[in-house]
Amino acid sequence: MSLDTQFRSCTDTPVLKERGQREVFCGLTGIIWLHRKMQDAFFLVVGSRTCAHLLQAAAGVMIFAEPRFGTAILEEKDLAGLADANAELDREVARLLARRPDIKQLFLVGSCPSEVIKIDLSRAAERLDGIHAPHVRVLNFSGSGIETTFTEGEDACLESMVPALPATDAAELLVVGALPDVVEDQMLSLLAAMGAGPVRTLPARRSTELPAVGANTRFILVQPFLGATHAALIKRGAKPISAPFPFGEEGSTLWFHAVADALGLDRAKVDAVLAAPRARAQKSVAAVAETLRGKSIFFFPDSQLEIPLARFLARECGMLPVEVGTPYLHRELMAPELALLPHGPMISEGQDVELQLDRARAARADLTVCGLGLANPLEAEGLTTKWAIELVFTPVHFYEQAADLAGLFARPLRRHALLTPEAAE
């Protein structure tokens, strides 16, 4: 689909803003993938038993073996006096670092209770950094539910790293956002072949590979939920590259083209590099799209991936978005996406879950994308659902994963048809 004169986008679509009960995770959940991405980092949540229980429930049993995260659970005596809490924190950190000499970065992660009782984790991080530097760098961010929604935890984490990055005048490209290693490697090899090097990533797999940043840094996001990190990098003088997000063949191509244009790369060479993966992605997505074409889809807000995914599903898979909910709409970062998303769906920001459930039941979309708390109850009401969290835990970016991404939406529909053949047309 091209941007012809007939095309009407969602750029000017009014946004329904809602306020009420939210059926979403808090930002602590980001630790589940961040601690695997950063292999010499430890995430220490200063919180309650609820925080520990959440991480356990969200992580399931996948990573029981060696979690590089833990919760310093506040107890009654910690609530009595703050000096006490700081001393306790110092002691727990010292014990932890003594036992884990491989840890080079320690994140103190604020939670709802630590923020309400105003434990100053930035001061604690400074103090602990003074004690444990240079061996361990101690940073802090908030993953609390009163401040952050789900993926905003990654944003807060990366934002906390930006001021501590070394300065440089080198003209480098910085790619921002945690990607699965295999996807990151694919991306880096395409960028290298295009001649975009040197390329750095944030977060880096190890603290020794952390990027430097300065006025000649150009940076581009691979995740749509990194608004605060985006702002922090601009504050360091880095220049952003605006693009749609690299979901699907079209999104990936526009993303690489934006990099190429910003760096002044030879477009013919770039297109030659991208030609083969583009063709593979088009072919494989087309096969999956047969299941998706003409089907309606309703997004509950979850990860801020909703608008880019709706764009991919509408433009490359022929789906019909009914409502696209997002926990937070960052106007600037979403502008290229909204310009591509065909007019039609309601766009909603925030949540009042009861009202939104009423709308979802009225819409009865062919596929409803929602959190794990809602999926089985909606299935029991006869709706076909897709767990939103899988979209964050599965490699879905760039060309080679485009069909996998489409497949995540096709599978519940195929399954429904398999189990209830009489319902299939």
Binding site: V24, C26, T50, H53, L54, E75, E76, I146, N376, A380
Partner: protein
């Protein structure tokens, strides 16, 4: 402050949710920040519930703090009543809301809602999930259950089963059937499937069956005191306990003992095929109730040797310690799974009976394991009928515990032909289908060598050894012993060597130890 990696119990408001979700016609308004809704998925995913838990979260944010979180609560409570029209409501705070001290109980009372509103006071920073469930159920019963005439025929209430309980659903069915064989019918089962109106008529029963002390002991004591209803003290898990339970019911009601039907477990344990189970060393950990029951079954009904036991819920510490004494053991009472792991690594049992946490420990250490207690996992809600209580429960438990083990004749064949390239002990029990790669030869060292665990040094502490070393030929001989007894052989040999003052273990020491421990 206490560093925790994994927890056995959630916070107390999750216990309250287990009660609310089990019931019908009850709604829970929880003053809580965004994110606490994660708890919904425990019920909708682990238990595959087809309804959302009946919980409204106020979802306050940072910008509400110091502004108007109290009004947010009132709006949420009013809205929840209008939308769900419950027969009764419970209101309370999660850990964060406890800190802002809005007093949900007082706020809800001021709303004058046209249904009973029961305030919960669950201290999040000192208590945990089981306390939350027990206290919530007690408060509901205290407010709603009133004295009334007893039913004409003999009836009882089944109390304690909740949402997310370990096999609670099937235990209720089994006990209902079992009691019917005595002529006792169930007046109310609560909290599971009860409405507030049902709670109100609990007083009509002649006595209460306390199924799970973890979640209903306070309510049972309250009903005994205020309504004069005695309650049963024996939890009918296992053949012997079920018989004791029936005797207890007979004593309370004056009814005759029923004929036993459907019980296969004693014959299965007595049949010669089960001989190989004799003296297998088991370690037991879980909630107090299931651990006490499991130890009795293991020792008296299957013929295992209980080498260690403990529980994670401190509320049951006393009875668990007493039970441990009867097996000559000191109970481990802890909610730190690393301590449990270290204890298991030290004891080298041949079978672990535990929770999902122990299942992971077992996987790591290469020890067979069966799950006997919450905390639960999606696998603990099987599609088939599989109670733990009553005679069918005894049958189910026998099958479940024997399944992870290598079966009798296979055990002998492995011992005889252990060098066979296809039929070696690393291949695992043949009735288990596809098996992963070979299990680690030395699980204890393995866990320490991973280097990733922050408590690694606790894992590497050698158990009995002291200064004893293994000579190379003895070590090779040890490896020829099938894996399911190798841990025991190693431990016994080392203890034997230490007792005799031998510092280097040779092949002779190994076989002298074997002779010494022969039975």
């Amino acid at each position: 402050m206490k560093l925790t990696l994994w927890t056995y119990e959630g916070p107390p408001h999750v216990g309250a949710m287990r009660v609310a979700t089990a019931m019908k016609g009850l709604h829970y308004v929880l003053h809580a920040p965004q994110g606490d809704t994660y708890a919904d998925l425990l019920f909708t995913m682990i238990e595959r519930r087809n309804h959302r838990p009946p919980v409204t979260y106020t979802t306050f944010q940072a910008r509400d703090l110091g502004a108007d979180t109290a009004n947010l609560f009132k709006d949420a409570a009013r809205g929840a009543y209008e939308r769900f029209q419950p027969q009764a409501m419970i209101v309370g705070a999660s850990c964060t809301a406890e800190l802002i001290q809005d007093d949900p109980g007082g706020l809800a009372e001021a709303l004058n809602l046209p249904c009973p509103v029961i305030p919960l006071d669950l201290p999040s920073y000192s208590r945990k999930e089981n306390f939350g469930a027990d206290e919530t159920f007690f408060q509901i019963v205290k407010v709603l259950a009133k004295p009334m005439d007893r039913t004409e025929s003999v009836t009882c209430n089944l109390i304690g089963p909740t949402a997310l309980g370990f096999r609670h659903r099937d235990d209720v069915t089994e006990l209902t059937r079992l009691l019917a064989t005595m002529g006792v019918t169930v007046n109310v089962c609560a909290p599971l499937d009860a409405t507030p109106a049902d709670i109100a008529r609990m007083g009509a029963a002649h006595f209460n069956v306390l199924m799970y002390p973890e979640t209903a002991e306070t309510a049972a004591r309250h009903l005994e005191k205020t309504l004069g209803q005695p309650f049963t003290k024996v939890v009918p898990i296992g053949t012997h306990a079920t018989r004791d339970f029936l005797a207890e019911v007979a004593a309370i009601t004056g009814l005759a003992l029923p004929a036993e039907t459907g019980l296969r477990q004693p014959w299965y344990a007595a049949s010669v095929d089960s001989t190989y189970l004799t003296g297998k060393r088991v370690y037991i950990f879980g909630d107090g109730t299931h651990v006490i029951a499991a130890a009795r079954i293991a020792a008296k009904e299957i013929g295992f040797e209980v080498v260690g036991l403990g529980c994670y819920n401190r509320e049951q510490a006393r009875p668990v310690r007493a039970a441990a004494k009867t097996y000559g053991l000191e109970a481990l009472i802890t909610d730190d799974y690393l301590e449990v792991e270290a204890e298991i690594a030290r004891l080298q049992p041949e079978l672990i009976l535990g929770t999902q946490m122990e299942r992971h420990i077992a996987k790591r250490l290469g020890i067979p394991c069966a799950v006997i207690s919450a905390p639960v996992h999606v696998q603990d809600f099987p599609a088939r009928y599989s109670p733990q209580m009553g005679f069918e429960g005894a049958n189910v438990i026998f099958d479940t515990w024997v399944h992870p083990l290598v079966m009798g004749l296979e055990e002998h064949l492995l011992t005889m032909f252990r060098e066979d390239f296809e039929f070696h002990d690393a291949a695992g029990p043949s009735h288990h289908g596809a098996k992963a790669s070979a299990r680690p030869e030395a699980p204890v060292a393995e866990a320490g060598a991973s280097g990733g665990d922050i408590y690694a040094e606790r894992m590497t502490q050698e158990p009995v050894t002291g200064d004893v070393i293994w000579l190379a030929d003895a070590e090779r001989e040890l490896k020829k012993i099938p894996f399911f007894v190798r841990g025991k052989a190693k431990r016994n040999t080392e203890k034997f060597a230490a007792d005799k003052g031998v510092t280097a273990i040779s092949i002779d020491t190994l076989y002298e130890a074997k002779a010494h421990y022969a039975r």
